[in-house]
């Protein structure tokens, strides 16, 4: 670029153009790292998308009918749209971070002030329209095993239990804090965590609502107070309740040390009330604690 080159009147027309100037473009190519080893022909197979049949990690996904997803699409979605409709509704602005003011150059680039009254900014609540009908995006299942802090092999059975229930390999979780009376040490493995979406998620939902929850004698439902105010609902299952999963029920001698589950439904509902209605439509009971 020679935008900032001063035009000098002279006999030669090309002299000014050909004179060496400096580039005003930032030299980005020094900053972008290119892993050249990944470009070699040996790795071409790895670069294929996972749904390509030639890919090494190809796994057929749609192998059978998905009852829950079809029920949601065919019946529940239009019901939820009608239920959540509010005439003349506008976006409710969340509590956002505030600027310090613009009267001084020091304030202009300062980190934004915390939102009023709370430490964290909250999200906007959009009215429900045909393109954002509430749906369950994913389910996070976490299993914390206190005993695994002492005997690390227990950690393996906790993760295997999660893998059996969800059909997805769980991630290892590590304790974050040092609390000596509980023998909690930072960085010690203490359980597992999975996030399931799609087919695995709907399968898990139907197992829960049709097989596991109805057989728990003491189960009243999910608490009406549960939720993180952004539309994510959590409830827990005891080790006794986990026995109800058919994958574990029939092989009880293989799982002598069961641990409880903490199940979080991540939804795009925006508010907890909408999320609860959504979950109730999928067959989860609710109760007032």
């Amino acid at each position: 670029m020679s935008l900032n080159k001063v035009f000098i009147r002279q006999f030669s027309g090309s002299g000014a153009v050909l004179r060496a100037g400096y580039s005003t473009v930032q030299p980005v190519h020094h900053l972008v790292k290119v892993n050249k080893a990944a470009l070699k022909p040996l790795y071409q197979g790895v670069l294929l998308p996972k749904d390509d049949i030639k890919s090494v990690s190809f796994k057929p996904t749609e192998i059978s009918q998905d009852r829950v997803a079809e029920h949601y699409q065919n019946t529940l979605k239009s019901d939820l749209l009608l239920h959540n409709y509010e005439h003349g509704a506008t976006t409710l602005k969340g509590n956002k971070k505030r600027s310090w003011g613009e009267d001084s150059p020091y304030k202009l680039y300062r980190n934004l002030k915390k939102p009023k009254g709370v430490s964290r900014p909250s999200k906007d609540v959009h009215p429900i329209r045909y393109d954002n009908v509430p749906e369950v995006e994913s389910i996070v299942i976490q299993s914390y095993n206190k005993d695994a802090l002492d005997e690390s092999w227990l950690n393996i059975s906790t993760r295997l239990q999660l893998a059996q229930i969800t059909n997805v390999k769980p991630k290892q979780i590590y304790s974050k804090a040092n609390i000596l009376p509980w023998r909690v040490r930072q960085g010690k493995p203490c359980g597992g965590k999975v996030e399931i979406t799609g087919r695995d998620m709907t399968q898990f939902i139907s197992t829960l609502t049709e097989l596991v929850l109805p057989r728990i004698r003491t189960f009243q439902g999910i608490k009406n107070t549960s939720g993180d105010s952004n539309g994510n609902i959590t409830f827990g299952l005891d080790p006794e309740d986990v026995k109800g999963f058919p994958e574990i029920e029939n092989f009880q001698e293989l799982f002598p040390n069961l641990s409880g589950l903490q199940i979080t439904f991540k939804t795009n509902a925006g508010t907890d009330e909408r999320a609860r209605t959504l979950l109730s439509s999928l067959g989860f009971p609710f109760y007032n604690p």
């Binding site: 049949i53 030639k54 090494v56 190809f58 749609e62 009852r67 829950v68 029920h71 699409q73 979605k77 239009s78 019901d79 749209l81 009608l82 239920h83 409709y85 509010e86 005439h87 003349g88 329209r129 045909y130 393109d131 009908v133 092999w153 393996i156 059975s157 993760r159 295997l160 893998a163 390999k169 139907s206 609502t209 049709e210 009406n224 293989l254 009330e273 609860r276 209605t277 109730s280 439509s281 999928l282 067959g283 009971p285 609710f286």
Partner: protein
């Protein structure tokens, strides 16, 4: 990994010679206890090694067939998605029009229709449809149990 130029790991033997183990009569006994074996089995069930199925090696013709089918399926799914989206859009518009109409004709009814229904739940009796529904799929004269409090 495997390096042919690296000297053999067993010192004292030239590379390529077979190392004989001491022969033990009878079935080999493992040194691990039963509980340890159980944990090892659990760990091997959890790990992905040796569970990867073989890569499908399709000939060109089969590959083209497969891709054609997959493309057709994707197109079908996309159209289905589009159809559902249009359907919901139409529903939304007709709800909007009905409410606008009601606002003009009867503001009192409009207030009632636009009231928020917080805490509303779907009935638990509503089930996800199955391939083999019960002989009496819906109980029309059903009344829910009265809560005893």
């Amino acid at each position: 990994m495997f390096n042919p130029f690296r000297p053999s790991t067993i010192s004292g033997f030239p590379s390529g010679s077979v190392v004989l183990k001491t022969f033990v009569r009878g079935k080999r006994q493992s040194t691990q206890s039963a509980s340890t074996k159980k944990v090892v089995n659990q760990l091997s069930a959890l790990s992905a090694s040796r569970k990867q199925p073989k890569l499908l090696n399709l000939c060109n013709e089969d590959l083209i067939k497969h891709r054609t089918i997959v493309n057709a399926w994707k197109m079908f799914k996309r159209r289905e998605e589009q159809r559902r989206h249009n359907q919901l859009k139409k529903q939304y518009k007709s709800i909007y029009n009905a409410m606008e109409d009601l606002k003009q004709t009867s503001p009192k009814l409009f207030e009632l229709a636009n009231a928020k229904e917080e805490g509303k739940r779907f009935p638990l009796e509503m089930r996800v449809p199955t391939d083999f529904p019960p002989t009496q799929p819906w109980v029309y004269n059903y009344s829910p149990k009265k809560e005893t409090k």
